[in-house]
Symmetry: C2
Subunit: 170 residues, 2 copies
Amino acid sequence: MTELNPTAASLLGFLHGGEASGYELVETADLVIGDFWSLTRSQVYRELAALEGRGLVEAGPTGARSRRPYTLTNAGRAAFAAWVAQPPGPETIRYPLLLSIGFGSWIDPGALLGFVAEHRVAHAERLAKYEEMLAEPDMDKYQRATLTFGVHYESAVLAWIDSLPEILGG
Amino acid sequence: MTELNPTAASLLGFLHGGEASGYELVETADLVIGDFWSLTRSQVYRELAALEGRGLVEAGPTGARSRRPYTLTNAGRAAFAAWVAQPPGPETIRYPLLLSIGFGSWIDPGALLGFVAEHRVAHAERLAKYEEMLAEPDMDKYQRATLTFGVHYESAVLAWIDSLPEILGG
DNA sequence: AAGGCCATGTAACAAGTTACATGATTAA
DNA sequence: TTAATCATGTAACTTGTTACATGGCCTT
């Protein structure tokens, strides 16, 4: 039994909440883990097909708009349980802005600072979003933990951005 | 002329420093951008082949151990210049530990904190490494800027980790 | 001169992205 | 009742990963 990849495992995780179509799973995943685990529609459909092939999920009868509702099987529940018990791997970050800065000597200084400024806006917005969400008092402590990561991360990025003029300016 | 992807563009960037084999480029890239732009050997060879096909690099005569030294062409230099002038895209993060925490209600609490603790060690080490590197007085300001990101990032992760017992413990 | 290591590269596969297709709903 | 929109999915392509192959180099 080949290992589950984190994307497939997450789908199994979400299916614990009851049946869902691929489309709905994408929505849920985007909302719940999308900020630290990117995935796309096509991926989800492919994983669901693979999971069905392995007997970890079952598709119910096709409904309107060719909606195919998936449910967990017992094997799927077991596979998920085995997966969550494993230690998670290291994170990967791919940060194009850092490439721009790393190759900054080939860029017009004004343009470079412009890139950074534009970038800053998006981070400030996400930080605000996370803080707003955290204000919600009755929230699952696990989601609170992941949101708190978001706050720390975005704050760090903003602090770093604000330190750049001093580093690059001189 | 299709766009360059950031990996290919980075290779062109490094080739400004003179000829290099694929192997050497992997080493350089790992060292210089590896912490925020992961890439693998196979990718590099594939990109080099593609770049050669587009006339952006040229392979010199094959040497010992079938080493193939690549050099930039003028077209390559131009393509790189065009690429660095573009605004960089958003970063992507994939953080398996956050998945574990998000699905934390299915994990034994002790095991979860164990995962976190193990993770913490790696981050503390990287933070120390970055700080040590920054102590070097005569360093390119662009590298200093990217290293400073590393310091902010790792510090944020550590602070977040240290806040977890309070969030999850209660 | 034999054994192990290291530099170099390739091939096969898995995961991720982009662009497209289609048939319900809903709103004008 | 037609047009717009939305839910749903597929196909083609690009990127990323893992595992393997090979032959020069160094050490004893």
